[in-house]
């Protein structure tokens, strides 16, 4: 098996359905196709360089950001606009096809995750896999998330940063 597409925590494997391997190109294609994407950012993004990448990506793609845990504080201090929700709260909202979304413009059709605790993100992605058929999920962590629809592969920092850089080129 290709080690890049084994779930980072290998026991996250949950059944026959596995995420597609995403490259920056496919990830961008998903963003491009999406009408109302959302960017969910967890506490591992409180520091650089990740915070900077996120800022750039969000700006490039005009993505509303939801920060989970206490990530809001660092983002706020660094002038990055976001709304805060618990990761389970935002997941709960996302699985409701009638929720109007962060901007109140209508339900999101794509959610892109980065920086959440691996296993809690896996659990949230499982929720969305099963209960949010109206929504695509994408993760751009350096860890392969088999519960997502599409995920970056397992990578080292250097490669990952290149991936993230590419993400902010439209």
């Amino acid at each position: 098996m290709n080690d890049r597409v084994i779930p980072w925590q290998p026991t996250v494997i949950a059944g026959p359905k596995q995420a597609l391997l995403a490259t920056p190109e496919t990830a961008k294609l998903m963003l491009r196709k999406s009408k109302r994407p959302l960017f969910v950012v967890g506490p591992y993004a409180k520091n650089e360089p990740l915070m900077g990448f996120i800022k750039d990506i969000a700006e490039t793609w005009d993505l509303p950001i939801v920060t989970t845990a206490d990530t809001f504080k660092s983002f706020n201090e660094n002038g990055i606009e976001s709304n805060y929700y618990g990761i389970v709260e935002i997941t709960n909202l996302l699985k409701d096809p009638e929720w109007k979304g962060i901007r109140g413009e209508g339900p999101h059709d794509l959610v892109m995750f980065v920086g959440c605790i691996y296993y809690i993100a896996s659990q949230g992605l499982s929720t969305l896999k099963h209960f949010a058929p109206h929504l695509k999920t994408l993760t751009i962590c350096k860890y392969f998330h088999s519960n997502a629809d599409a995920s970056f592969p397992n990578m080292k920092d250097e490669e990952w940063e290149k991936y993230l850089e590419k993400m902010s080129e439209k």
Binding site: W8, A14, G15, E77, T91, T127
Partner: protein
Amino acid sequence: MTPNSTKPKEFKDDFWKAKDIKFSFGEIIEDDSPVSEDKETFVGPTLKPSATDLRSWDMKLLERYPPFYAPFCDMCCLCTYGKCDLTGKKGACGIDIEAQQGRFALLTCCIGAAAHSAHSRHLLEYLIHKVGPDHPVDFGNNIDIEAPIIRTLIGKAPRTLGDIREAMSYMEEENLHLLSACHTGQEGNHLDFESKALHAGLMDHIGMEIGDISQITALNLPKGDPDTSLIELGIGSIDRDKPVILCIGHNVAPGSGIVDYLEDNDLEDDVEICGICCAAIDITRYNNRAKVVGPISKQLKFLRSGVADVVVVDEQCIRSDVLEEAQKTGTALIATTDKMCLGLPDRTNDEVDSILADILNKQIEGALILDPEKVGEVATKLSLSLSKSRKSLKTLPDMDEIQEEASNCTQCEWCVRVCPNNLPIMDAVSSAGKGDFDVVESLYNNDICYTCGRCEQECPEDIKIMDLMSKVGENNLKNQKFNIRAGRGPIQDVEVRRVGAPIVLGDIPGVIAFVGCTNYPNGGEEVAKMAEEFLKRNYIVVTSGCGAMSIGEYKDEEGKTLYEKYSGEFDARGLVNVGSCVSNSHISGVAIKIANIFAKKPLEGNFEVIADYILNRVGACGVAWGPYSQKAAAIASGVNRWGIPVVLGPHGSKYRRLYLGRPDKEDVWNLNDMRTGKVIKGEPAPEHLLFAAENREEATVAIAKNCLRPTDTNKGRQIKLNHYIDLNKKYFGVIPEDVYKYVRTDKDIPITYKNDVKEILERNNWEPRELVMEPSILDFPEEE
């Protein structure tokens, strides 16, 4: 109404109609108890309720807090039709993923409830055997309401140990019905699975109460004394020069047998008795000279250190490989209950000398001894005999050897990937290989690594990572001495009288209960810090079990533990250790007692009224930071059914089911005002019933918010909002935008934040709301 063996006979004629009785119905039964002033007790509609009897309550709760599922597996593997993939598909039996998750929640709660309750049944029968069925259940003058859960569900208080059996049998019957519903081809609706899971949780609470009142009364454990002894705690507190007996588990019976034997033979000064997990807590409630090694996270660390000459295991939360681990260090092992026999020969009926000889000569790997008194004698004699010969086994390999082994690390990184928390194990090992033990030490401290051992199992080089961890801790024993206040058991009635009003009105901003395991990286310190944060802010902090131990492992700048700084009273700024896992029943118990003693709500048969009271008026919040087992799921479900919200740590997401409110849906929060008969616009208070936070900071704010209740007076609401805003500012840097939802009138606005809050109110088109008098989610009583 499911037929139930134990419904009172008087109900028989109305068997199928009892539902109509409502709680206005009053069956008058004689109460000749010396503990009650009333001559008559009004009995509500739900004596010995079955799951369907309380289903309407559950459906109300679940409408507000619908289950949120995060499947751990896409497949169902429970029957031989399968496995079936439930990803957007139904299984061969017709089940869908939603019902399957509810089913798993029910199964989990049944197992959890069984663990506590079978433990309680064992204890009850053992204690009846020891002191007789007529031994009185009497907690002294300060506690009249000594079994609030049993009173509510069974309709009367047990007067004797033997009386308790009635509640026990009820629990057993209910658990069987609930477990049955997990069978393939039974329940098909997820909400009905959840209703049953909540019932299983409630059964867990009755089981826990049975266990703790039985042991308190028969073993004369502290009966609500707020000022119990401080007990020595920590790996460093164990005297390694003495023979050491280590008890692991939850059942006090064998531990009390050892204590008795030591006392009867004047060996108390000669043998060190200590424990891990709740067995430790309960042994120290029985004898304050016993010591606590620590919570579950210390188990493998301490076993590997080889310090224990004898390990006595009873039940629950014991490593399945404890026999193998004991053998590695030449530690003798005695299994003592039917729950964990470990394949050992049953030597219960053999002579002590013959057992000793066989163990010492390694004829047998250990022994199963089901008689606690005999365990006391065998364990003591073994420890005395082994402690000398084992001197060399009591220390781990020296640092050179350890470094040598660590240097084999190939940096494959699989240790990190299989670590439940992806801790930097690889860094720790590879730097240890180079003689730098700092990373290992940082992982050891505060149980950042709680030594589950998965990394070691995975390591292709067979590096004994847990030995490494244990060894580094050994070098720093003097810093591992702490204390814990011995578990006091129930809350006294007089305390409830004192704090009832301030809690319900909001002057005391909340009651926070830290329960369950602290299996979370740095979990001990995080729990202690949360406790400290709320203690400083005048909340009442209650704790039990591993949580109580972890709180004891934290010292402030002055080197004091929180137990040294805060009193054990159930009052503002009180830090109340109720005891072990089964003592958790006193936490729901005190909420019930507030409804009863302060608000004069009759308990007997009145579950729904009491739970509704608690949900809407008692600003309590449970916190289970590192729970891992089925028991924790059952406790939380029981707590939830009583109307108390619970905040879990991030691993709580792996329970696969939460109960989340939707603050954005206004109608969900409407309340029935029982005083006026009007439907009143409510507020998300509590916002969630079962919530998982991603880190301590998020949790702290969520806890404060979840203490808000509709009955807060303006003053109470100001106090609570003040803490909520304070904490939100501290951890999120801003005043929480949703504060407008909790401001009913101008008078609710905390003075300190007046301007900022008003700005928020304006921004959100706030308008003042009516205050509710008697908030309820129950239906208004039907017209006659």
